[in-house]
Each structure stands twice: as C-alpha cells, then as structure tokens.
Amino acid sequence: MAGIARLLLLVLMSTVPLFSSGSRTGFTINGRVKIPHGFGPKGFTLPGRMSNVKVILNGGQNVTFVRPDGYFSFHNIPSGTHLIEVAAMGYFFSPVRVDFSARNPGKVQAALTENRRGLSELVLEPLREEHYYEVREPFSIMSLLKSPMGLMLGFMLVVAVFMPKLVENMDAEEMRRVQEEMRGQGVPSLSGMSPGGARN
C-alpha cells in the first residue's frame, strides 16, 4: 500500500478549459491530499480517515471531498488567484495559493502560503500533526515533590536535617544561652499548636 502511495505521488495537475461558450470559462483544479503513512507516532492511515477530509476553495466558495486515494477536484473555476484550504482533523495544512492566468491558459502556479514554498504539483501534505490534548505526565516522584504537599514535606525535611547542623556550628557559649532560654520557656506543648494558641 505504501509503495502504491509512493508511486502515485507523481500527480499531474491538469487544467482543462471546459467550455468557453459565452463569457463563462471554467478551469478544473485537480489535486491530491496526501497524509503520509506513519506520520507521527501513532502510525495510520486508518481506513475511513480520508472521509473526514474537506477541501475548501476561497474560504468556503466551494467545498469538496477527497476520494479514497486522496484526489480531489474543483470544477468550473474562473481564472485568477485562488486559495485552497484543507480541513482534516489532527493535521495542520498550509493554505495553498493557486494562480490560473487568463492570458496564458494552462499556466498554473501553486505555492504554500505559510512558508512560500512553491509546489510543482498540487499534492497537499500536512505540515505537522496536531495534538489537541495535553499529555498526562506519567507518575514520577518529582511531580509529587513539586506539588504543594511535596514542598511542605520537603521543607520539613530540610528543617529537620539542617537545623541541627546549624545548631552544631553555633558558638558553644551562644548555644548555652539559647538552651537557657528554652529551658525558661519550657517544653512546647501541643496546645500551643492549636489555631487558638497560634492567634495569641
């Protein structure tokens, strides 16, 4: 299947003046939407995926759909400069500028408007895949630690580990003074922890 797809890559873009009776002259735009196999991590194309692809000319003037092989066509289009957009869920397509010159029938130019890259043939490929959802990060210790609760625990640990170190580095004399003070206050009791106590 992939091989066939690659073979089909050589697509001609034909412009056939359909009829020139009266003032109406119409061109046919033929092109192809190609969603490469194995684009992105998931690897598709699932069958029926192409059925949700819409090709839109000039912001909604004409809407067409693609065939199973990705080909599409717009009929009876006047000469001038046109814009083709592809709406496909999950893919980002650049709009394509297509020029038909009235003076020189058959001369056609196509270019992606996003990056101004010229196209030798009207094969439209997505510039990138679009993922609409954030990916949930798998469980990790870091994410747990980063949460407010984790930070609280971390702070406690830091205090429990480093505070004694600080105390050790202290002057012997000062240490004694602090210890004296603490004795004066007595041992902290749990009642002091209650919200009522904290407010005092």
Partner: protein
C-alpha cells in the same frame, strides 16, 4: 542579578505556555457536543440486507447523512458547501449513495458503510433547468446506469466510477423538462416537459446509447402551470394556469392525448384554484384547494373520481413498491393531539394496510413529510415503518404505533441565543435526588487519590471517569455559586424555542411559538431576535424570568412585527401580540421598570420608535431619559450610516402614546463607487470593563482606554472586491475601516488596507477591535488590531494634580466632549479562514481576554489577546518583557492545545456566544451551527478555584501526616530532654 534574570525569563517563558489545555480524560467534564443534520428533504431507506438498517437523508442545510434506524444516531454525515444544495439522492448497487447537487452540476457517490466519497463527476449543460435524478435498471457493459437531467442535458452516468456514458442536449429554448420516466422492464426513458408553457413535448430516448427514438408534441389551448404528478409510467396529471382545470396527459406508445376535466365537475363546491401535490403513485394523485386535500383516482380510460376529501392537515408520502407490482403510500392526518398514520394500497383506496394512531407532542406542530419503508413480519404480512418530518424540523421514526426515536433537528438552525439564570435553591426544596453520603464521598476521594498516585486498576479508572462525568452536581436545576449552571435559550428557524441546560445540554423545555405559526394574516412568519425581557433579582424575585421574541410576518423589512413573551423556566407563552408596525431594529434600553422588565425600543421601517412595555410607568422612565437616547442605522446597500435621536410623539396617530418620531442627527455617506459596507460591529451591551487605566510599565506611564459604548466599527471594500477571493487584483481592491462615534457621527479613526478584501470578521471589546480579512498581495489572511486611547486624560499622570484633586478622572466619558483619541494598530498574518469570531467575557472584566475564532475547519481556536497587542515589537525591552509583551512575529501562532473544541468539529459553525460565569476566571462558551458545543473556558486558568484534579484526600493525608510527625517529634524531644536531665 543573573539569578533574577533567569527567574524572570523563566516566568515569561512559563507565561507563554498555552493557557488552556485539556487532558484527554477531561473531555466531557465541562463540555458537551450535540450533532444535528437539519430539516430532512429526502430520505431513502436501506434495509434489504441483513446487518445494520439505515436511512440515507438529505436536508435543507445541505447535509447528507446516514442514520441508524434503530436509534436515530448518525453513522456518517457530510456537510456540503453553502451553495451546493442537494437536488436528489438515491442508493445505487446497494452500496453507494448517489447525490446530485449544486443545481445538477455535481454528482457524487459515497460509500454507504463509512461515507467515504468514491467518485465525483461534474455535469454541464447548455442552460439552466430543473435537476432530476433517476436510478435506472439499465445495464451498459455491466455498469448500472443512473440517468440525470440537469442544465438542459440528459446524462447517463455509470454507477461504478461516475463516468458519463452518453449525453444528449435538449436545446429547445423554451423547453421545461418536468419528468424523466423509465417504464418498468424497458430500456428506454421518456423525457417529458412543456415548451412555451402551452405545448407538451415527449421524447423517447434509448437508455443504452442516448439515441432519440421518438419525439412527439401536442399543443394545448391553455397554459400549463407548475408541478406534475405521475399516475402511470405513461400518464401525467397537470393543472392549467388558472388552477381550475385538471389535465390528464397520456403518451402511450407515442400518441399524446390531453384530456381536460374541470375541477368543479369533480368537487361540487370548489372554492378556488387548486395546487397539485407532486407525487408518482399509480392511479392516484392529490390536489390541494386552500386547506382541503383531495385525493383523486384515475380509472381506466381517463375517468377521474374523487376518493376522499380531507379537511385536516394531511401529509402524503411517495409510493413504495411492494412485490407483484403493488404500490403502497402513506398519509398522515392530524386529529387533535393524535396523528393517524395510514398506509394504503395505490389501487385500492378502501383497503388499509396499516392504520395507527400515535400520540404526538403538540410542540412539534404539523407533519410536513412522511417516508415509509416496509418489512416482512414473521407471519408473512407487511409491516411498515414511517419516518416523519415535523414542522419544528424534528425527525421521528414510527413503528408499530409508537415513536421509536426522535431527533430535534430544529436545533441545527439557531437564529439567536440568550441565557437565563436558574431558580435559586431554597431550603427544604432539594432538587438533586441523590445526595451523596459521607461514605460515598470518602470512597470517591480515595478512588481519586489512587488515580493520582497511579495505583488505580483499569476498573477503578473507569469508575473514576464515570463519577466525574455523571456528577449530579452539574445538571441540577438550581443556581450554583460559580454561575456555571444556566439555561441557554435558543430560537430556531422553525419558530421553536429550546431551553438547554448548560450542565449536560439536555432540553429542559421546548415550545413551538404559536405567534410564529403560519396563519392567514401572517404567511411567512420568521423569528428575528431573542432578548431577556425580565430578569428579576431584587424587587421581583418571586417571578420567573422571561424572554422576548421579536419576529415579523415576512422576509421584507416592512412586514408587520410579532412580539411574544415567554417564561424562561417553564416555556409558557405569557402573552403575544401582532404589532401594527414593522420591525427594523430592536434596541434594548439600559432601563428597567419596577417589575424589572427591560424597556425596549423597536424601530420600524419608517424610522418611528415604539416603546415596550406599553405601560405608563415605562413612559415615565422613558420621559426622564428622553434626551439621552440615540441610535443609528446602517444602510449597507446605499453605503449610508445615519444617527438618530428622539424628537416627539408620533404626529400621525394621536392615540399611540408609545410611538415617537425620530430626528436625524447626522449621516455619513460613503462614496458608492469606491466603498461598500461589508461589516459593522459594536461592543456588547453588557460587557464589564475592570479598569480604564492601562499601566505602561516600560516608561512608568499610564494610558487611558477610550471606553465608550457608542463606538461603531465599519469595514468597507472596493465594490469590485466584494466578491470572492481571487476575483480582483490587489491593485483594484482596498479595505477601509472606520471607528465612528454613534452619538455625534464623528469619525474617530480611519485606516486603509491597500490590496486587501473581505470577508471581514470583527470583534469589538473594551477599547479595541480585532478584525480578520484577506490580504491579496501576500495572498494570506491577516488580522489587525486597533486600540483606542483617550488623550484628554493623559495629563492626569502628574501625581500632584491627583493629590490636589485637579484631575478629570471622575468626569464621565461623554461623546460630546472634545475627543482627543490616539489609536495604535498592528497587523499579523493568520493561517485560516474564519467563520466567526468572539471574545471571552468575564463577570468583572479583570481576567485577561482571549479571542475565540471559529475556523473554516469548524473548530474554535482560542488566542490570547496579548498576541494582538499593537505594542509588540521585534525586540521588546526588559521592562516590556516583564509586562508580558510578546516579541513581534509576522504571523499569529496556532497552538493545537488551545482549540477549545479539542478533537470535535462543530459542523457548519455560524456563531460563538460567550457568557460570563459568576466565577471571575471562567467564561461559558457556546458555539452553534449544525452542531452545538458548550464548554467552560478559563482564559487565565482557574486561578480562583481549585482545579478539578485537586485531590482533597491527599491534602488531608498530608495534614494528618504532619500532625503525626509533630506529635512524634514532640515525644522524641521530650524523651531527649529527660535523658539530658538524667545525665
């Protein structure tokens, strides 16, 4: 220093992250999506094969869809372009759906199981004509052939690949082809029609090669009119142009005979001209005289006989071929609250195959269409299922006397939407039936905790997901603290009002408005506008809120108006009235009376203003504000914008105290040869603006936003460039935008974009307007922003003046004061075409704004307003960066995670409505088109509430652990102290 830089950079970088994003498992928590197809035009059943039974439908909204016959769900659906109207559908080879659309120019085949387009062919012809699709049983080289008559040419197309096998032109200038008929078992087709309305033409064409076998014509003394009914494969029934004479036209074996029968011979008291209801039932046809439906049978050699006259509203379905050449057809008649579905045999009027009576919801109105399908019961007899289309555009399947399923497809064509608050929860009245007990609550939180710690089994995850989605909290019928639960009231094209609950999207009530019902006096009533009428909060809390529906009796602006008042909680029509004047504009005034009814001004086509409600109190309020009321009108075909004020009471009719004359204050006439108005936008009436001042951190400066309610944004293009993209060269097209004060008519700003054209989509909020248009030079879409600042307040930055009190900050903004405004603007490229654009709105206007853009792919993309800030520059200074100014890029970014519709398409998107919730951070977003989509959206994340995935249990556990740790350490320290003392 370096560290602060790093921190700042980190913060800036962090703030660039998409502000809204959704995890896949959060889908459906706050959002819902409903899919519709619109009013069904044609239906074809596919029930022959074993497997899933389905029905293929085409609708007036250019949708082709297949529905599951069991439940009414959509298997697949395609929305064709707006000018790609479906002319006919059929099923070919049992696997393809063939559709003819675009006035017979495009023929497509879709794969029946999955909706993949298989082939498409383009048909052309010499002239415009009726489009007819006929599935034949002719086979050419193993190909089944479908015959299409369109644009004056007959085509035979292969069903396999869409190749045109032959075609034949019907060049005759005046020929109007009415039918293409294939007699059963033959391999030729008849093409019949009228030439110059007085000649019947019959062509017999060989279906295998398009060869003309026979051409006959017969002149008729009168003139033919309108539709024809087929009563056999070689007999037609038509009416003459007076509508009084029935014509039976037979072309058996190439011999045309026209037999005339005056209707008065058949119906004694025929009151007026008849209309034929086109059908193709063997030996039977239907005419309609006023409201009476008459069934007439064709017997043998041209004898006509009336079989039934039905005075009730009747819908007749088309013929369904049963076996052995029998044909059945369905008719549905209304009888009070019930409808009677009857299936009859074509040749035997008395013998009913089926007669059922079904109770029908009165809010669905009349039956408009009926399609039947048969199945063979176990006892060998025929059973029938009927698909009916109702006046409110809903679709119902009837089988065995019951409604199997129904679809509210009226919601596919919403005209206007408003919201209403739900009732306040009162003590003693518990609306939620299932209140969770403590154990359940704990269990739920333990499950959640397990989920957070990744310890949950797949069953647990499923249970968590179910719990989150089915939270009874969100679908309660009472007000909530956050203001998330509301009623969305939607007016549809069918004249039906729906109230949807924002929690789960269910229909709370629906009502087909009797005042918008078709009647003698009002032939084509249409709804125009929906606005909140009474929003009780202080004085009249016991009353239910109500909405006002404004409609008119026809498409033209001078048709008489209709008003209807509807209770928002029950859907009851409180009152309605036919107006004696037309309605051109509806202006809700910012005043309410003592019962909190909002004053509305209705402007008619003659520029008179009519005040509603028509009470003395309203008049007295109105008198007080008489000189403060201004409005404007835009005549886009003439390119004139006019401003008005009230003058006096109406001169003409003395008794009408509620009618006022207007005086024209100003007018702006745009040169019609160079400018054509294509878009006008104003600010939303009820938008909240938090602060007028904008701090410019870079130079410690303050700018004052020019926040005026009377600003109008107008976009005009060169008349040549008003067509489609690509029809003009950049040199001959330009786009001009104006900012106009609608009180004084003063043009505050004018800007020209050379080489640009429409369509323009614009949104106006606070002191800025953002618009989207097409740049022909770059051949890309562009978006521009204009911000408007008040210069007259700029000298208030002197602190001393503020201290002394010599500032003018407290003076109100007035349109009369000398306006010294400065505007800033900037343009950026944008990738997609837009269908709609809106801006988030929050309760207090503090939260930063995001633009909501409905793209051509029917998705809604959120874009931070900071990307459209005219102060963006390529290299913002450090101070500017701190302020949150983003470095300038030539195009606006499209971040897939900021599609608020995530992987959903809101097919046929037409409008986006934002409503502020009570919670400042959150906006409620409702997007409608064919589909409906609703979600909560927090433009700057939910900074004022805990996120949904916040784990209460984890917090509790942490606190418990901390308390335990404190206790343990306290014990340890005590013991240590004791040991110290012993030492």
């Amino acid at each position: 220093m370096a560290i602060t830089y790093a921190v700042l950079l980190f913060l800036i970088f962090y703030s660039f992250q998409p502000t809204l994003s959704l995890y896949e498992d959060q889908v459906g928590l706050t959002d819902w999506h409903q899919q519709y197809i619109g009013k069904v035009k044609q239906a074809v059943f596919h029930t022959h094969k074993t497997g899933r039974k389905r029905v293929v439908v085409s609708t007036e909204d250019n949708v082709i869809a297949t529905l599951d016959l069991r439940h009414g769900e959509i298997f697949w659906r395609h929305v064709l372009g707006h000018n790609d109207v479906v002319d006919g559908i059929d099923i070919a080879l049992g696997k393809y759906v063939i559709t003819l659309s675009s006035e017979g120019r495009i023929l497509r085949a879709w794969n029946l199981p999955d909706g993949q387009m298989v082939w498409e062919s383009s048909l052309h012809g010499p002239k415009h004509s009726k489009s007819l699709l006929l599935m034949t049983n002719v086979i050419i080289e193993k190909d089944n052939v479908v015959v299409i008559f369109s644009n004056g040419r007959l085509h035979a197309v292969s069903c396999i690949d869409g190749e045109v096998l032959w075609n034949k032109d019907f060049e005759a200038e005046s020929l109007e082809v009415q039918k293409v008929i294939q007699p059963p078992g033959s391999n030729f087709v008849y093409v019949v029609g009228f030439a110059a309305s007085s000649q019947f033409e019959m062509y017999q064409i060989n279906a295998t090669n398009g060869e003309l076998l026979k051409h006959e014509s017969e002149a008729f003394s009168g003139r033919f009119s309108g539709e024809v009914s087929l009563v056999s494969s070689e007999t037609l029934v038509a009416l003459d142009s007076t509508g009084l004479i029935l014509l039976r036209i037979s072309f058996h074996e190439g011999k045309i005979s026209i037999q005339q029968t005056p209707i008065s011979d058949l119906v004694e008291d025929s009151p007026g001209p008849a209309v034929i209801i086109p059908s193709s039932i063997m030996g039977l046809f239907t005419i309609k005289i006023n409201a009476v439906t008459i069934f007439i049978r064709v017997i043998g050699k041209g004898k006509l006989e009336v079989v039934e006259k039905a005075n009730h509203e009747t819908a007749v379905g088309d013929a369904l071929s049963l076996s052995e050449g029998q044909q059945a057809f369905a008719l549905v008649q209304h009888a009070g609250r019930d409808i009677h579905l009857t299936v009859k045999l074509a040749h035997d009027w008395g013998g009913d195959l089926l007669k059922e009576s079904i109770k029908m919801d009165q809010q669905r109105g009349l039956v408009h269409k009926v399609f039947i399908n048969n199945y063979v019961r176990t006892d060998g007899s025929y059973g029938f299922r009927a698909l009916i289309v109702m006046e409110d555009h809903s679709l119902l399947l009837l089988q065995q006397g019951t409604i199997v399923w129904s679809r509210e497809d009226g919601l596919a064509s919403i005209i206007d939407v408003t919201t209403s608050e739900l009732p306040v929860e009162r003590a003693g009245v518990s609306v939620a039936k299932v209140e969770l007990n403590l154990f359940e609550w704990l269990k739920g939180h333990m499950l959640k905790l397990k989920g957070t710690l990744m310890l949950a089994t797949p069953e647990d995850i499923a249970a968590i997901q179910y719990m989150r989605l089915k939270s009874s909290e969100k679908s309660k019928m009472t007000r909530d603290h956050n203001g998330f639960r509301k009623l969305l009231i939607a007016l549809t094209r069918a004249g039906k009002l729906f109230a949807l609950h924002t929690g789960d999207g269910r229909i709370v009530w629906s009502r087909l408005l009797q005042s918008l019902h078709k009647s003698e006096a009002c032939q084509h009533p249409i709804g125009l506008n929906l606005s909140p009428w009474q929003v009780p909060h202080h004085h009249a809390l016991d009353e239910n809120p109500s909405v006002l529906v404004v409609g008119r009796c026809g498409p033209s602006s001078d048709a008489l108006g209709i008003l209807s008042f509807i209770d928002s909680y029950t859907g009851k029509e409180l009152s309605s009235s036919r107006l004696v004047h037309s309605v051109a504009q509806v202006i809700p005034l910012p005043y309410t009376d003592s019962t909190e009814q909002r004053l509305h001004l209705l402007i008619d086509a003659d520029k008179h203003a009519h005040l509603y409600p028509e009470t003395p109190e309203a008049i007295s309020i109105f008198r007080r504000e008489f000189s403060n009321i201004y409005w404007y009108s835009v005549e886009d075909e003439n390119g004139i914008i006019k401003g008005y004020a009230l003058k006096s009471k109406c001169n003409g009719n003395v008794d009408d105290k509620f009618c006022f004359d207007a005086r024209e204050l100003w007018s702006i006439v745009l040169p019609s040869e160079s400018e054509k108005i294509i878009a006008t936008v104003t600010r939303k009436m009820n938008e909240a603006v938090h602060t007028q001042a904008k701090l410019i951190a870079a130079d410690q400066d303050v700018m004052y936003k020019y926040v005026s309610r009377n600003l109008l944004f107008v976009a005009t293009v060169a008349p040549k460039a008003s067509g489609e993209i690509g029809s003009v060269t950049p040199e001959e097209s330009w786009l001009v935008v104006y900012l106009i004060d609608t009180v004084t008519g003063c043009v505050l700003h004018r800007m020209t974009h050379h080489g640009s054209q429409g369509p323009v989509e614009a949104v106006f909020s606070e002191n800025w307007v953002v618009y989207h248009y097409f740049n022909l030079r770059a051949h890309r879409y562009e978006m521009s922003v204009i911000e408007i600042y008040d210069q007259s307040r700029a000298d208030n930055k002197d602190v001393w003046k503020l201290v002394v009190g010599k500032h003018n900050l407290t003076s109100p903004i007035s349109s009369y004061s000398r306006s010294e405004v400065v505007t800033k603007s900037q343009s950026y490229f944008f990738t997609h075409s837009l269908k709609a654009i809106a801006v988030t709105s929050t309760a207090k206007g503090i939260t930063s704004k995001q633009l909501l853009m409905g793209t051509i792919g029917d998705q809604v993309l959120a874009l931070d307003k900071r990307f459209l800030d005219p102060r963006r520059s390529v290299n913002p200074t450090q101070a500017e960066r701190e302020e949150g100014i983003i470095p300038l890029t030539d195009s606006l970014p499209i971040i897939p995670q900021s599609y608020i519709t995530h992987n959903i398409r809101v097919e046929g998107l037409r409008g986006i409505i934002t409503v502020a919730a009570k919670l400042e951070s959150t906006t409620l977003v409702f997007a409608h088109g064919l589909d409906l989509f609703f979600t909560h959206f927090a433009p700057s994340r939910t900074y004022d509430s805990l996120t949904e995935d916040f784990s209460c249990a984890l917090l509790l556990i942490t606190i418990v652990a901390l308390v335990a740790a404190i206790f343990v350490t306290w014990l340890l320290s005590q013991r240590k102290e004791l040991q110290d003392k012993w030492r």
